[in-house]
């Protein structure tokens, strides 16, 4: 779950990290009013789940209220890498003396937490990694030990931050690690972490991705979930608790299990078509889940055919078949359905479906032949 910058800063502030006072604005007037309360000069910053905002013209300095009005008008509605700006952060401007980069994430290969710190902040870290890899100091942290102050000091020294920034950085980095662990983040990033002209180390940007699996122990996640940017189809699927990802094709896909669902999208592609979505109904392919899945796919105007790919492991084929028939009674389906049913009780399942077969419901023996059929029907 990706947070907006302003949410990331609230998250950081909760763990005691220094961020600038700021307010959210959805209109030009709200932006001006916010700037008035905060006092100019301010920064006007696009809030989107995408990097490269500055380059795209989504971050502007405003010396006075007229400038706030002008920039807010320009930035609202701006398209940044496919994300349309609908909200702004109006934030007190800082006097920047120096810029750094800091982040924590999980190193899946090492199975340890990885901290990265660089004295070259304010630019994309991927660029630094390619052009000047020695400018990034890395630290691998065993989650059992955590980040000790001594290790943090060594790390800051390795990054060769200027002396004036050392104490402030050690403090912020330890808090950042605490936020990362206690907040159950997949990733926390500050770029730039700045040294102000007044000699303070300060958080100027915040990029935070939270682990959705941890939602049960973080009631505060709910407010972040409600602002997630989803297309209409994804929002409908999310409301039904379905694992759905919208894609650009015309073959609607329903499968049980994430791997099989991915694989189904792949074979549709290999058959010369394109999937309209990834949808994993999990192990419980009952009538309710199947109805919800068919409804979400049926409401996608791009869908021309539907491919239901079920491999019954513990999931029973006869129950899946009954679920499909019940779902078709509940939901009026506009596109033809092709089913491939294998595994546990598949024979019984096929027998249940047989009397219903026709132009609207077809059955194929294998995943590949079903994919070909669904693609033909979508053409």
């Amino acid at each position: 779950m990706d947070l907006f910058e302003h949410q990331g800063k609230e998250f950081f502030a909760h763990y005691g990290m220094p961020v600038s006072p700021g307010e959210i604005a959805f209109t030009v007037d709200e932006a001006v009013a916010a700037a008035q309360r905060l006092g100019t000069p301010v920064m006007v910053k696009a809030q989107v789940h995408a990097g490269g905002r500055g380059k795209a013209g989504g971050v502007k300095f405003a010396a006075d209220l007229d400038a706030v009005r002008e920039h807010a008008g320009n930035i609202l509605g701006l398209d940044i890498k496919g994300h349309v700006v609908k909200r702004l952060l109006i934030e007190q401007a800082s006097d920047i003396a120096d810029e750094y980069y800091a982040s924590f994430t999980l190193d899946r290969s090492a199975k340890l937490h990885l901290g990265m710190l660089s004295r070259q902040g304010g630019v994309e870290i991927e660029t630094v990694a390619v052009e000047n890899p020695e400018a990034i100091a890395k630290i691998w942290i065993d989650p059992v030990d955590g980040l000790t102050e001594a290790a943090c000091r060594d790390w800051v020294a390795a990054a060769e931050l200027p002396a004036a920034a050392v104490e402030g950085s050690v403090d912020v980095l330890q808090k950042l690690y605490t936020a990362y662990v206690q907040g159950d983040a997949d990733m926390v990033e500050i770029n730039p972490l700045i040294l102000t002209e007044q000699g303070k180390v300060h958080v100027l940007d915040a990029k935070v991705t939270l682990d959705g699996n941890s939602e049960y122990r973080h009631p505060e996640y709910e407010q972040y979930d409600s602002t997630q940017v989803r297309d209409e189809r994804e929002a409908a699927a999310h409301a039904h608790g379905l694992q759905y990802v919208g894609l650009d094709g015309t073959v609607g896909v329903i499968a049980n299990g994430a791997g099989l669902a991915m694989s189904t999208v792949d074979v549709v592609n290999q058959a010369g078509g394109q999937a309209a979505n990834f949808l994993d109904i999990g192990g419980g392919a009952n009538a309710d889940v199947m109805s919800a899945a068919l409804e979400v796919i049926n409401n996608d105007p791009a869908v021309k055919s539907i491919f239901i790919n079920i491999f019954g492991g513990i999931t029973r084929g006869d129950l899946v078949a009954e679920g499909i028939i019940e779902a078709m009674k509940r939901v009026e389906i506009d596109s033809p359905i092709v089913i491939r049913l294998d595994g546990t009780n598949a024979v019984e399942g096929r027998r249940i479906l047989e009397p219903r077969l026709g132009d609207g419901l077809m059955m194929e023996d294998t995943m590949l032949s079903a994919a070909r059929r669904a693609v033909e029907l979508a053409e």
Partner: protein, 294 residues
């Protein structure tokens, strides 16, 4: 032979009193697995389907000699359940539960490595492990697997594990052991752990490996296969058409920053001499060709 489990494996089920645990515990027992105990601190002294319930893993191990644990505890309790199993003295922990926080997984992976280096953790978020005809721990439907070998299977995805077993059965090929390592960012057991064990197992003559997008585990496995494996491998990677930045169901299945793509994984495996199929059926057919040539 089989890897990690065999007919002598005795299993305690943490969460046997819950709906999932009791259901799969019964299926595993019916398959022939030695289901010797369950745990639940509030139900010690009772029975589930004739299996005795103990307060904790220590007591279950003392009373029954259990050598493995299978976890059906909800995600919030998995961290302590894993540690309870390790402290209880089992050699193998199979964590079926999905949705475990990544920070918990990273923590208990390293805690086990440090304090219980001889304990093997499988999962979380995995279908379990089956050595056909001998032992089935977890949620795999036993009848889709043909016993006997010569093929070992290792897979990151649940339903694709079943698909792989099924493809081999369609080709009348038996399986020594099928290990589902799970789709999470920090799996307790890696592809390499399984490949190493299959390489050492005299009855396993070839290995089928099912991967998916995200992370670099398949690339690392390719490196291992290239340098250390003598047995032939066939493979399939799910998610060729997955768009970057979108999690495809599994917490670990995401292409980000151009890393973790199926194309890169398939290229690395092909470079290591692996027969790479474009879909599970092709990978099964490639394995059938390998088996004919053994």
């Amino acid at each position: 032979m089989s890897i990690f489990v065999d007919e002598n494996t005795k299993v305690v089920y943490q969460g046997l009193t819950g709906s999932q645990g009791s259901y799969y515990g019964r299926l595993n027992a019916e398959y022939g697995t030695q289901v010797v105990a369950g745990t639940n601190p509030r139900k010690a002294g009772t029975e589930v389907n004739g299996v005795p319930i103990f307060a904790n893993v220590v007591e279950a191990v003392e009373a029954t000699g259990a050598t493995a644990s299978c976890i059906f505890i909800p995600a919030a309790g998995v961290k302590s359940a894993v540690m309870e199993a390790a402290e209880g003295g089992v050699e193998l922990i199979v964590a079926i539960t999905e949705g475990v926080p990544a920070h918990d997984e990273a923590w208990f992976f390293n805690k086990l490595k440090r304090d219980f280096p001889n304990v093997r953790l499988l999962g979380p978020n995995c279908p379990g492990i089956i050595s056909p005809g001998k032992c089935n721990i977890g949620i795999t439907a036993g009848h889709i697997a043909k016993p006997g070998g010569p093929v070992g299977i290792v897979s990151r995805s649940g339903t694709l594990t079943y698909q792989a077993l099924y493809e081999l059965k369609q080709n009348d090929i038996g399986v020594t052991t099928c290990v589902g390592i799970g789709g999470d960012p920090v799996p307790g057991t890696s592809f390499i752990d399984c490949l190493e064990a299959f390489e050492a197992d005299p009855e396993t003559k070839a290995v089928m490996m099912i991967g998916e997008i995200g992370g670099s585990a398949e690339e690392e496995a390719a490196e291992f296969i290239k340098n250390r494996m003598t047995k032939p491998v066939s493979s399939y990677i799910a998610g060729v058409t997955a768009p970057p930045g979108k999690k495809m169901g599994h917490a670990g299945a995401i292409v980000s920053g151009g890393k973790g793509t199926a194309a890169a994984k398939m290229a690395a495996l092909a470079d290591a001499g692996v027969s790479v199929g474009n879909n599970p059926t092709e990978a099964g057919e490639l394995m059938a060709e390998i088996v004919v040539g053994l």
